[in-house]
Point group: C3
Chain length 203, copies 3
């Protein structure tokens, strides 16, 4: 699935917006720099880690200034419409789920196109979707979200595995991608709706 350029920018916008809203919740970071920085880290953190691991140069946001512009637009949107957006918490959650779904499959595809082993491609795909948030949470001294939310990164792994398996069975890239993305979104919605977490390992 060749993700059109503008969808890639849209995903960056959504991640920046959610990162800005997350930063806004912490009084310490509530100036324009703190919010912009957190939005930036969340939006490009995972993709940059994946591209550096794959040895890709130049990075998308380094070569093309539109990514930075889109991130700043996400910040402005978050700050200007924060009351409305916080009321639309469900809409935001859906955007976040679509975002990690899209970026997981994008990440897996990109890794496979570099000849990476499928197991590693699945992990890199998951990282490109969630790791921006991990860096952000670590910087602001919080336990990373992937350790807290009900089935967050595991949803990405599941969707990535579905995509890779369907791909191996010769199913078209488009259908495999869409299925993988839907799996991730569905798992997120169900786990949050019914408050399902991975089972703890008992002592």
């Amino acid at each position: 699935m060749q993700v059109p350029y503008y969808i890639d920018l849209l995903g960056t916008f959504v991640f920046a917006l959610s990162g800005a809203l997350a930063a806004y919740g912490k009084l310490l970071y509530r100036d324009l720099f703190g919010i912009s920085f957190t939005a930036f880290i969340t939006a490009i953190g995972g993709g940059t880690l994946r591209d550096i691991t794959l040895g890709v140069h130049p990075l998308a946001w380094v070569a093309d200034g539109n990514y930075l512009i889109v991130i700043f637009l996400g910040v402005l949107t978050a700050v200007s419409f924060r009351k409305t957006l916080l009321r639309l918490r469900k809409t935001l959650f859906l955007f976040d789920s679509i975002g990690i779904g899209l970026y997981t499959i994008l990440g897996v595809q990109k890794s496979l196109s570099f000849g990476v082993h499928p197991l590693a491609a699945i992990i890199l795909g998951m990282f490109s979707a969630v790791f921006g948030g991990v860096i952000r949470d670590t910087l602001v001294n919080e336990i990373p979200l992937i350790f807290r939310k009900e089935i967050y990164a595991t949803a990405c792994l599941a969707g990535a595995i579905v995509f890779v398996v369907m791909n191996r069975f010769g199913i078209s890239a488009n259908i495999s991608s869409i299925t993988g993305i839907l799996v991730i979104i569905a798992i997120r919605i169900v786990s949050v709706q019914y408050r399902i977490s991975l089972p703890r390992i008992e002592d």
Copy 2:
């Protein structure tokens, strides 16, 4: 502006010195390894991140042992003269401001020379100056300095923007660089003197 080799080493020395002093303030890290490690991370963290993002190899401190020697000298100086240095808090603050000013403009120039988009070059320049401190603060479980100080990283962004704009108007690299560096130092001095911070976003 072709920064002479020894100025680059001097900047590394200053950053290592300030990092060692910062580590010294935390009882847990007050052995020679903890102080050296923190000084090292502060001194090369930002530049390494920038070079890896640009795909530069080999890194300066990896190919040339003088950088490591200079870092260790910074550690020895900090430990031997800490009482004197802490009394010279203003001198230290000036060195730190000169350091981030110099490394921001250096970083912007290096990025532009790699054909990076100006917006990204500005951000990479800021990162190469302040991110060593961000990694250091994260490792020792403190809120990164860039979120706390009065106008810290934003000063770097301002100076970087000034440099890029002057450059675009055809002003010589030397004058653009010096102006950018002075802008950063001036903003730091004024914001600390008059305790100016970025305005908080009200609720």
Copy 3:
């Protein structure tokens, strides 16, 4: 010393196992994802940082799926046999010391083979052994182990220096490597047995 492929996998297994046990101790991470993620970060963190710094592509665990399989085996072992393993605390400590010993010397050798300055090779060797744990501790909001244990990373530096010096004097790579590894293990055992730490810098 050409470390056979299976020794490399064994070291990865040991690091993953120790990382999983460390995660198990924190209630928050006691699900299969939290334990796997922490094991993964501990096992590949240091080597990935070293390889990215050296500009090595593709990374071992990205190109070869056996590393990921071995990591997951380490997780399964840790979870299935945790009671037995925790009773064998001394055996675990020995494995960990062997692990950091082996990976320090491996890291130094790899760096030197890339023409890196010996001082930088020593530091990169130390990093490839301990930094996985540093990332892990930072992610779970703990002070990194290298700042807490009695003579941990310094042991690695000592062994790395011994290896490099012996190498410079023309002693065979095999003997230099084994000596360096033994130095690291010995320092770890003695410092833990007699509770020796680096001296604090007094005020």
